[in-house]
Amino acid sequence: MSRDEAAPRVETSLVYAHGVAALTTLFVSVAFGILASIQLLSPETGAGTPWLSWGRIRYAHTQGIMLGWLGNAFFAFLYHAVPILTGRNVTSATLGRWLFALWNFAVLLPGWILVLAGVSQPLEWAEFPIGVDAFVIAGLALAAIQFLPAFFGRRLESLYVSSWYIIGGLVFTQLAYPMGNIVPEVVPGAQGAAFSGLWIHDAVGLFVTPLAVAILYFVIPAASGRPIYSHFLSMLGFWLLFLVYPLNGTHHYVYSVIPMEAQLTAIAASAILGVTVILVVFNLLMSLRGAGIFPRDAGLKFVVMSTIMYLVVSIQGSLQAQMAINQAVHFSDWVIGHSHLAMLGFATFAAAGGLVHAWQRIPWARYNARAVTWSYWLLLSGVMMMVASLTAAGIVEARLWQSDAPWLDSVRAARPFWLLRSLAGIPITAGFVALLAGLMTGPRGAGLRDVGVVAGADPVRDMTSVLNRAGEPA
C-alpha cells in the first residue's frame, strides 16, 4: 500500500454527524421495537391510534434499524476507514453533507412518517414506499461516488480485505435494492415472492454483512496491533460469501410452490454459507492471537463479540434452512430470535465497534470509556436474554403447531417468553443509553488517550501504519 505524501484527511465532522444520526435513529427504532413487543403483551397499548398500531410501527422499526442505525453507523465508519485503507481522501466533504442530508431527511424521516401514516408496501425489509426507495437508491449512488473512487487511486498496489467488502457492499446493494423493493410490485404472487426472498437475504447479505465484516477486518488488526492471520483466507472468505450469500434467498420460502430446484439450491447454499462463515470467523479470531475474547479496548471488545455472534447466527441460519428444521420452526419466534441475533447481535455490535473505534480517534470528540464498557455488557446481556427467550418461544410454538392444539394455545404459550423478551428491552435500552453517554460525555480527546495515542500525534497517520502492517497484499 502506498499513499500520497500528505496524509489523507479523515472527515471527522462527518464521522461525528453520522454517528449522532446513527444513535438518534437507533433510539427511535428501538422505541418502535419495544412498543411493538409490549403490544403483544398488552394489546390495548396505543390502541385506537393508527400510527401507533403494531403493523405500522413494525415497519418503522426494521427500516429504521437497517437504514437509520446501521446505515449511518456504516457511513461514519467509512469516513474513518476509507482514507486509511486507500491513503486518499473521500471524494468531497460537500458531497458528504448532501449524502447526510439525503439519507436522514429524504429517506428516514419521510419514510417513517409515511409508513406511520399508512403509505407503505407490505414487503419485508422494503416497507418504505416506492417514492422513498428512489431516494435510497440515490443515496447509495452518492455513497458510491463518495467512497469508491479512493479505491481506484493510481498508486494503490493492493487492496486490504475490508476494501473488498466495502466495494462489494456498496455496489451490490445498489443492484439488489430495486430488485427487492420494486420487482414484487410488478411481478405477482409466487413469482414476486421469489424476488422478495432474494432481497430479504440480500439486504442482510449484500448490505449489512459486507459492511459489518469490513468493520471486523478493519478494527481487529487496527485496535489489537496484530496483523490478519491469513490474507488468503480473507480473500477466499470474501469470494465465497459473495458467491453464496445471494443464492440463499429462497430459503425464506421452503415448502412453498416455488420450484423445489430453487429451494434446494438455496438450502445447499445456506449450508455452504455456514461453512464459509466458519472460515471467515476462524481467520478473524486467529488474528486476535491472545488478545482474548474480552479485550480491554472497547471498540475491539464489541467487534470480537460481533465476530462470535456472526458465527453463531450463521450456523443457526444454516441449520434452520434445512428442511426438517425449517418445517417446524418457520413462521415462529425462533426466526425472530435469529434475526435479532443477526441485526442486534452481529451487525449492531460490529456497527457499535466501528463507531467507537472511529470516535476514539476524533481528537476533539468526547469519550467516556467506562460508559462504553457498561454499554457492551448491558447490550450483551440484553441480546442473549432476548434471543434465548425468542428461541424458546419458537420451539414451543413449533411443537404446538405440529400438534392438534387450537391455534390460540400457541399465542397463550408464547406470552411468558414475550414478557422476557420485553424485559430484555431494559438492558438493551440501558446499553444504548450508555453508548450514547460514552460518545457524548467525558473529556475531549479522551478516546485517543484511551487507545494510547499521545496527544499531538496524527491519529490517521498512526492508524495507517498499524493497518499497513496488517494490510499486506491480498
Partner: protein
C-alpha cells in the same frame, strides 16, 4: 515491482467486477427469473380459464391489509407440509396468487394463516373482531382497528367494509374452481410423479376448524364424564366474549353481532343440540365451529351450557296447547316443520336454520319475545299484528311443549 503490483490490482479489479456481477446475476437468474418462468408456465396450465380477480372494493381492502401490516402476523401461504394442510387446508398454488401485486405471503404467524379465511366467519364477526379483537377472542393479541369505524362496530366506515370484503375473498378463486377445476389443474400440472405437488390435491380445500358446516355433519360421540373445572375455563376463554359470563348472551361482542348470540340461560338444550353447534357451528351466524377442541373439552362445555338453565315453568293448560298447535300448523310449519324439527319445506332455503324445538326449548319469555319482535338477523319475523295476542301466547307455549330432553332422536 510497484508498477507490476499496480497492474495486478487493476487486473484483479476487472476480474472481480466480472465475477461479482456474474455471481449476482446468477443468483437472480437461478432463484428469481428461472423459478418465475416455471411458475408462469404452471399458472397458465393450472389456472381455471376464467379465474376471478378482485373487485375494486376488494382491492381497496387489500391495500388496507397491506398498510396495516396484517401480513406480518398472518401468512397467506399454506405450505406443502402436513401440519399446515391439516390446520388450514390445501397448499397454496401459484395460480391462486396470480392477482397479488405484491404478494402477501408473509414469513411469520402470530395469528393463523388466512389464505383460505374467506367464508370461514361472518361479516359481523369480522367487524366486531376488527373493532375490538378481545371482545370476540378473549386471548387474542391482535391490535384494534377502531379508527376504521365511526365509533362502534355496527358503524363501519368504507375502508373496513372493503377490508372485510377482501378477507371474505381469500381462497375464493380456488373454491370457485370447484372439483372440475381441481381435476383440471391436477391433470395439467404435469406433476404425476411429484409427491409434493400431489399434496396440493389430496386434502380438504379448507380445513379451518372454525368453519361452519351443515348441522348434523359427523358429530362425535362425547364421553359421559365431564371435567367441570376445565369446562368453566374453556367457557371463560372462548365463549364468554359473546355469550356472557353467565350465558345470558350479553358478552362484550354481543351488541355488534347480528343475529345476537344466544341467551343460553333462557334455553334448555338437548346435549345433541349443543354438541352439533360446537362441532359444526351455526351456519350464517357468528357462532363458529370448534372442531379444534377434543370431545372431552366439548363435553365439558356442554355441561357448562346446560348448567346455565335454571327454574321450572308453571304447567300450561291443554286447551292453550291445542290453540297453539292449530295456529302453529297454519303459520309456522313451512320453516319449523310439522313436528317442530326445523325441517319445514322452506328450511333449506334459509341461510340460518330455523329453530328445532325438539332439541331446544326457549323459556316462555324468550319464546314470547321471538313471536312478538321476531329475531333480528334471521327470517323469523314479528307476528304482532298478524296474530292476536292470545294466539301468540298459545304458539309460544306450544313450541315449548315439543322439547324432548333426550335429544329429540
Amino acid at each position: 515491482m510497484t508498477a507490476r503490483a499496480g497492474r495486478a490490482l487493476r487486473i484483479a479489479y476487472v476480474v472481480a467486477a466480472v465475477a461479482g456481477v456474474a455471481f449476482f446475476v446468477m443468483s437472480v437468474a437461478l432463484l428469481g427469473v428461472w423459478p418465475g418462468r416455471v411458475l408462469d408456465r404452471q399458472v397458465r396450465a393450472m389456472s381455471p380459464e376464467r379465474a376471478l380477480g378482485l373487485t375494486v372494493s376488494e382491492e381497496r381492502g387489500r391495500t388496507i391489509y397491506g398498510r396495516e401490516g396484517c401480513a406480518y402476523c398472518h401468512t397467506q401461504q399454506i405450505r406443502f407440509v402436513h401440519a399446515d394442510i391439516r390446520r388450514f387446508g390445501a397448499p397454496t398454488l401459484a395460480w391462486e396468487t396470480r392477482f397479488d401485486f405484491p404478494h402477501l405471503w408473509g414469513t411469520r404467524r402470530i395469528g393463523p394463516d388466512l389464505a383460505r379465511a374467506g367464508s370461514v366467519r361472518t361479516d359481523d364477526w369480522h367487524l366486531a373482531h376488527l373493532f375490538a379483537p378481545r371482545s370476540v377472542v378473549t386471548d387474542s393479541v391482535m391490535p384494534s382497528y377502531a379508527w376504521l369505524f365511526d365509533g362502534s362496530p355496527d358503524r363501519p366506515l368504507q375502508g373496513v367494509r372493503d377490508l372485510v370484503v377482501y378477507l371474505q375473498s381469500l381462497g375464493r378463486a380456488r373454491e370457485l374452481a370447484g372439483p372440475d377445476g381441481e381435476a383440471r389443474a391436477r391433470e395439467r400440472c404435469d406433476c404425476a410423479g411429484d409427491h409434493m405437488m400431489q399434496m396440493a390435491f389430496g386434502s380438504a380445500l379448507n380445513a379451518s376448524p372454525a368453519r361452519t358446516r351443515t348441522s348434523g355433519t359427523d358429530v362425535p360421540v362425547l364421553p359421559v364424564s365431564v371435567n367441570e373445572r376445565r369446562g368453566r375455563q374453556l367457557y371463560a376463554a372462548n365463549c364468554a366474549s359473546c355469550h356472557g359470563p353467565r350465558g345470558a348472551g350479553d358478552g362484550p361482542a354481543a351488541a355488534s353481532l347480528v343475529p345476537a348470540p344466544s341467551d343460553l340461560s333462557s334455553h334448555e338444550y338437548a346435549t345433541a343440540r349443543i354438541v352439533d353447534a360446537l362441532w359444526n357451528g351455526v351456519a350464517g351466524t357468528a357462532m363458529q365451529a370448534w372442531r379444534d377442541y377434543p370431545p372431552d373439552d366439548l363435553a365439558a362445555l356442554t355441561g357448562v351450557v346446560q348448567g346455565f338453565h335454571g327454574g321450572q315453568d308453571a304447567a300450561v293448560p291443554d286447551s292453550l296447547l291445542a290453540t297453539g298447535e292449530r295456529v302453529y300448523v297454519a303459520n309456522c310449519v313451512q320453516c319449523h316443520g310439522r313436528d317442530g324439527r326445523g325441517d319445514g319445506s322452506a328450511a333449506g332455503e334459509l341461510t340460518i336454520a330455523p329453530t328445532n324445538f325438539r332439541t331446544q326449548r326457549p323459556s316462555m319469555n324468550s319464546s314470547l319475545r321471538a313471536m312478538r319482535e321476531g329475531v333480528r338477523g334471521t327470517r323469523m319475523a314479528s307476528w304482532t299484528g298478524r296474530l292476536s295476542e292470545s294466539e301468540i301466547v298459545a304458539v309460544a307455549a306450544y313450541v315449548r311443549s315439543l322439547y324432548e330432553s333426550n335429544g329429540g332422536r
